[in-house]
């Protein structure tokens, strides 16, 4: 479980997060939603220990993550951030291999190679394994980055907008894969994902954390959080949540 205690974050004098106090359950997939500038990415960076909160603390499975050593932190939490393009001349297999760095620190074992291959297989990247990132489409590249986070084999995976700039099919593929990963089982991961796509949130999330202007609006199970009224209030636009062919959908009215 993630326990966020009275978290404040101020950057260059500007309050980014204020008084966040909640818990995120360990099982299933948690969606972090909110309008632009709500502090979703900053919250994820605090959870991953990459940004020290100005006040408050973050405990992941009882461990004070910002105070943990970098390698120890990276063995507990994998973060996929929206970053700059990676080094040129990097193949998919090499990128996914970086996910094992916290475990081998530059000296990979046969077990590391096996786990890298398992992550490549898990995200159907085998046909692309020896292709260079610069030759891939945005969706394929994003899948490779998610596979890298998966290869870290951490109990927690934090993903910052993994669906950004993806077409619906690629977005659905990645979300379905993450849903499967978050289901109970020997390989199950606890997944926290920042989502802009509300349709994906209502489709896959088990738990929802809603933020607005750096403050927590709601932290609740999907059925409770993702209602037409809550979403309309959160985004200040009329949003309808309904069922189509037995599946929940969210649409802008």
């Amino acid at each position: 479980m993630i326990r966020i205690e009275n978290l404040d974050l101020t950057l260059d004098g500007a309050p980014i997060l204020q008084g966040i106090d909640t818990e995120i359950p360990a099982s299933g997939l948690t969606a972090v939603i909110g309008p632009n500038g709500a502090g979703k990415s900053s919250l994820l960076h605090c959870l991953a220990g990459l940004v020290r909160p100005t006040q408050g603390r973050v405990l992941i499975d009882g461990i004070d993550i910002p105070a943990a050593k970098p390698a120890e932190r990276a063995r507990r939490v994998a973060l996929l951030s929206q970053g700059s393009p990676a080094l040129p001349r990097l193949t998919v297999a090499e990128l996914v291999g970086f996910g094992r760095w916290p475990h081998h620190q530059g000296r990979p074992s046969s077990e590391d190679h096996r786990l890298v291959q398992a992550s490549i297989d898990c995200f159907d990247l085998d046909p692309l394994a020896h292709r260079r990132l610069e030759t891939l489409s945005g969706g394929q590249r994003q899948r490779a980055f998610v596979a890298m986070a998966h290869a870290q084999t951490t109990p927690w995976m934090l993903l910052d907008e993994p669906l950004a700039a993806l077409d619906p099919r690629y977005a659905r593929d990645i979300m379905d894969r993450l849903c499967t990963l978050s289901r109970p089982g020997p390989e199950a991961r606890s997944i926290v994902v920042v989502l802009h796509d509300l349709a994906m949130a209502v489709r896959c999330a088990d738990w929802v954390v809603s933020l607005k202007d750096g403050r927590l609006v709601q932290s609740a199970p999907r059925a409770e959080a993702l209602t037409s009224r809550n979403l309309s209030d959160l985004f200040e636009a009329e949003i309808l949540v309904d069922e189509v062919q037995g599946r929940p959908v969210a649409v802008l009215a």
């Binding site: 970098p70 120890e72 951030s81 080094l87 916290p102």
Partner: protein, 314 residues
């Protein structure tokens, strides 16, 4: 594949070094060989230091167009020479004992770099753009100051500063070299040990930190190594702004890999190869009718332009 190419680079360097040592060798063999061996050793260590330092700098700066020279090493070196000539006069400058002069230059260059790096890094090691921009302004300031001081030198003293401002291997002091070579070799080995972490740093600061790399500490270590490598190499031979860019770009395209385990020795060998081959052409075929650094800087400048234009086209 890349490993084999690295091997070929090593063989190429060996061939160039052998040619340089033995081409047109005549009596007195021992004297000429020892003279050439000193120069060869200087060419190899300086080329290797600048090549490897540039690869490391480009990785931590996340920019393939930069060289450590851009943060003002060459300008600082020229300013030191100008100040020494101004304070001691032409004769006093020429009479300076080599070892203390070398030590002063190295310490001043490394000190300036450390000051610059630490001042910027206090703001956070992630801010490499600020480091580079401050370095560029620092370089312009040093260059402006040196140009101003050169105006009050008399013409013969000005000529001394001018000749000291270009890298030259014609008068390498063996004692200086004996001090410099082990330092540079140690820094190169230290750089090679950081190669796997540099691979991860190449993913960008946030991603590297998310993978458990203490990025800020790594950047500090790497910048300290770069300051040492470039300061010692510059104090030994003189400034070479574009040699590193030439070596690093060629290493990246020949080895075609992101792995620093191969890129660092590759750029080091290419830096050495460029200098040895250039000095061979310059001494044996051009009859000393030009300056090696001018040729290297010209080629390096062309590569720089090519990279900028290619990036713009992409």
């Amino acid at each position: 594949m890349a490993d084999r190419r690295l091997l070929f680079l090593g063989l190429g360097l060996l061939v160039a070094a052998t040619l340089y040592l033995l081409w047109g060798l005549r009596s007195p063999y021992g004297f000429i060989l020892s003279l050439r061996a000193t120069k060869l050793a200087a060419l190899v260590v300086v080329g290797a230091a600048i090549g490897a330092a540039t690869v490391m700098f480009q990785t931590v700066a996340a920019n393939r167009l930069l060289t450590p020279g851009i943060v003002g090493f060459d300008a600082m070196f020229v300013l030191i020479q100008t100040l020494l000539v101004l304070l001691l006069g032409g004769i006093g400058y020429a009479a300076l004992p080599q070892i203390p002069k070398f030590a002063i230059e190295t310490l001043a260059l490394a000190g300036a770099a450390t000051l610059l790096f630490s001042a910027i890094l206090r703001q956070g090691a992630g801010d490499m753009t600020r480091l580079v921009l401050t370095g560029v302004i620092f370089g312009i300031l040093m260059r402006g100051l040196a140009t101003f001081l050169q105006r009050i030198l008399d013409p013969s003293e000005f000529a001394i500063v001018q000749s000291a401002s270009f890298a030259s291997f014609t008068a390498i002091d063996p004692v200086q070299l004996a001090f410099a070579a082990p330092l540079l070799a140690a820094a190169l080995v230290a750089g090679q040990r950081l190669a796997p972490a540099l691979d991860v740093a190449g993913l960008g600061r946030d991603r590297a930190r998310a993978l458990g790399v203490d990025h800020d500490r790594l950047v500090l270590k790497v910048l300290a190594l770069i300051a040492g490598l470039v300061a010692v190499a510059t104090a030994l031979a003189g400034p070479m702004t574009f040699l590193g860019l030439l070596a690093a770009s060629l290493a990246a395209s020949i080895l075609n890999t992101h792995r620093h385990r191969l890129l660092l020795p590759g750029a080091a060998m290419l830096g050495a190869l460029i200098l040895v081959a250039g000095q061979f052409l310059f001494e044996r075929l051009l009859g000393l009718q030009s300056t090696l650094s001018v040729i290297v800087e010209f080629l390096g400048g062309m590569v720089f332009l090519m990279l900028v234009l290619r990036r713009r086209a992409a």
